[in-house]
């Protein structure tokens, strides 16, 4: 079974070797999402729209509070940094969950999972796409913050890179869990893609220090990588000091979060194969 037939079925172009981890297959999935985003200009605008609106709103709140709060006056940009970094976490999670939902809405999972694509390769492609989507949202908003309010998120310096990756990795981890749950429970649970992340917003200290929380809730916050990131952000903006201990805690927690997120997704994926829902999902 090789060579070119009269209908052009040239089997020599087919790669029969099937490595367990293939950057080509991951690239194919990234291409699929790039086609999706590129094919719709409202989607591209929407990616940047919400972070920009949030930034403008909190920018004006900052201007107002500067005359009324010593805390804000001493650390200009603390709210703007909070809102922009929160958006990294939020968009990171949404980038994974929405991209996965696209496959469910389009009833494409059956085709994908009878191809040589491994579930974990799909997760890697979702991370890459989420990274691209998050940058499309963050960069215009951060540049506009410089123009409108004279505040540069990049003044956080090199730690900003650590903050960014810790938040996006936490977002991916939650996105995997949510995607797995929606795969197993069906599209009736799709609102979780937007809702779940907000459960941690009050606890992780985006706009206020963790020590304003009740004691028991501070214990919960300790186990959220985002809490350590936002505390670390305030340490730089308020005290002008980088806290490596907080960065270390966030990285350590995120290793666990990422492993747990992937495990939960793969467990729900297997459960979906037992229940036979992969061919049934769709609008």
């Amino acid at each position: 079974m090789s060579g070119t037939s009269t209908h052009g079925h040239d089997t020599s172009i087919v790669e029969r070797r099937n490595p367990p981890f293939s950057p080509r297959r991951i690239g194919a999935m990234v291409l699929r999402y790039v086609y999706l985003i590129r094919g719709s200009w409202p989607r591209i605008i929407e990616l940047a729209y919400w972070p920009t609106m949030q930034m403008i709103l909190w920018g004006f709140i900052t201007l107002f509070l500067m005359g009324h709060s010593n805390f804000i006056a001493q650390a200009f940009g603390i709210l703007l940094s909070g809102v922009l970094l929160w958006d990294v976490l939020f968009r990171g999670q949404l980038g994974v969950a929405m991209s996965f939902l696209e496959e469910m809405w389009s009833r494409n999972l059956g085709h994908l999972f009878v191809s040589p694509l491994r579930p974990y390769e799909m997760l890697v492609s979702l991370m890459v796409v989420s990274f691209i989507r998050t940058l499309i949202g963050l960069i215009p908003a951060s540049l506009l913050a410089m123009m409108l309010f004279g505040f540069s998120l990049y003044s956080l310096g090199l730690p900003l890179i650590g903050f960014f990756f810790n938040l996006i990795v936490m977002g991916w981890s939650i996105g995997f869990m949510v995607s797995g749950l929606i795969l197993r429970a069906g599209l009736g649970a799709e609102s979780m893609a937007w809702a779940v992340i907000f459960a941690i917003a009050p606890i992780c200290g985006i706009y206020y220090p963790i020590d304003v929380l009740p004691g028991w809730l501070q214990s919960v916050a300790f186990f959220l990588p985002a809490s350590h990131v936002f505390e670390g952000m305030r340490a730089i903006l308020v005290d002008g000091a980088f806290r490596p201990d907080l960065m270390f805690n966030a990285v350590l927690l995120n290793i666990g979060y990422l492993a747990l997120g992937m495990f939960v997704f793969l467990t729900f994926f297997r459960s979906a194969r037992v229940q036979g829902v992969i061919l049934q999902v769709g609008e």
Binding site: I13, S22, L31, H111, F113
Partner: protein
């Protein structure tokens, strides 16, 4: 004895108290075209899903192209493909974008050439750059079949392959699939409610009812055995529980 393309032993699938597939055994020779027939709920789609490894059986074994599909499905997935009206291609991508993504997923080395070949074969040229959402049902079916052949599969599983096609295009597709099989030696298994299609395309028919295989044979053999004039009448006999099906099951046991 040559290795079968598909070998199924004691295959069952239960969904709670519902038995969708009940202790099924069959094997399909390499290079054959076999139809899986039965009424709605007979267990055809469930069986095909288990052959693809998308659905895990409650018990039993499935060997596809010489590999245990439950343990080593990734060894054979590059050599298989399928098409089903229950699964779509992303509607917001063009036909060409969809085929390019799948060509890359299947690891093709010359994607441009392969896309050109399948576009010519299925006459997709005029709508390759249109979004799938804007295509007619028949055009979507042609794109789905092009995707199913993108990796020149050794085993092709087709669920209702000519659904939504007009009679002329459906006839052309059947001829194309027969030619494909003749030229590449591929094995085809299809589930269909179109008995004329099965008579034309398949040299073997497996009849299912209530999750069990109730009869099997070449179309002409079945027509003769049931004393009927065409496969549709045989299908109605079996679906309604008349005739030889239960005898065959006992004999098989």
């Amino acid at each position: 004895m040559p290795e079968p393309a598909i070998a199924v032993r004691g295959l069952s699938k239960h969904f709670g108290p519902i038995v969708a597939v009940d202790d099924v055994d069959f094997s399909i020779p390499m290079g054959s075209a076999t139809a899986l027939l039965g009424g709605n709920g007979a267990g055809k789609t469930t069986t095909i899903s288990m052959l693809l490894g998308l659905l895990l059986p409650t018990k039993g074994t499935v060997s596809v192209l010489g590999e245990d599909i439950l343990r080593h499905r990734y060894r054979v997935l590059p050599r298989m493909n399928f098409s089903s009206p229950y699964v779509d291609l992303p509607r917001r991508l063009t036909a060409a974008e969809n085929l390019r993504v799948y060509a890359q997923l299947y690891g093709l080395s010359n994607i441009r050439t392969r896309l050109r070949d399948v576009a010519a074969a299925f006459d997709l040229g005029e709508f390759m750059d249109r979004k799938v959402a804007s295509l007619s049902a028949g055009q979507k079916t042609r794109v789905a079949l092009a995707k199913a052949l993108i990796n020149v599969p050794d085993l092709l599983l087709l669920d209702e392959p000519t659904a939504s096609l007009d009679p002329d295009t459906a006839d052309w597709v059947r001829g194309y699939l027969k030619d494909y099989q003749a030229e590449t030696g591929a094995t085809i298994m299809l589930a269909s409610h179109n008995m004329g299609e099965v008579e034309r395309m398949c040299d073997d028919v497996i009849m299912m009812r209530a999750g069990r295989i109730v009869d099997r044979g070449a179309p002409a053999e079945l027509i003769d055995r049931y004393g009927r004039t065409n496969l549709e009448e045989v299908f109605l006999d079996i679906a309604r529980g008349n005739g030889h099906g239960d005898d065959w099951q006992k004999a098989a046991q």
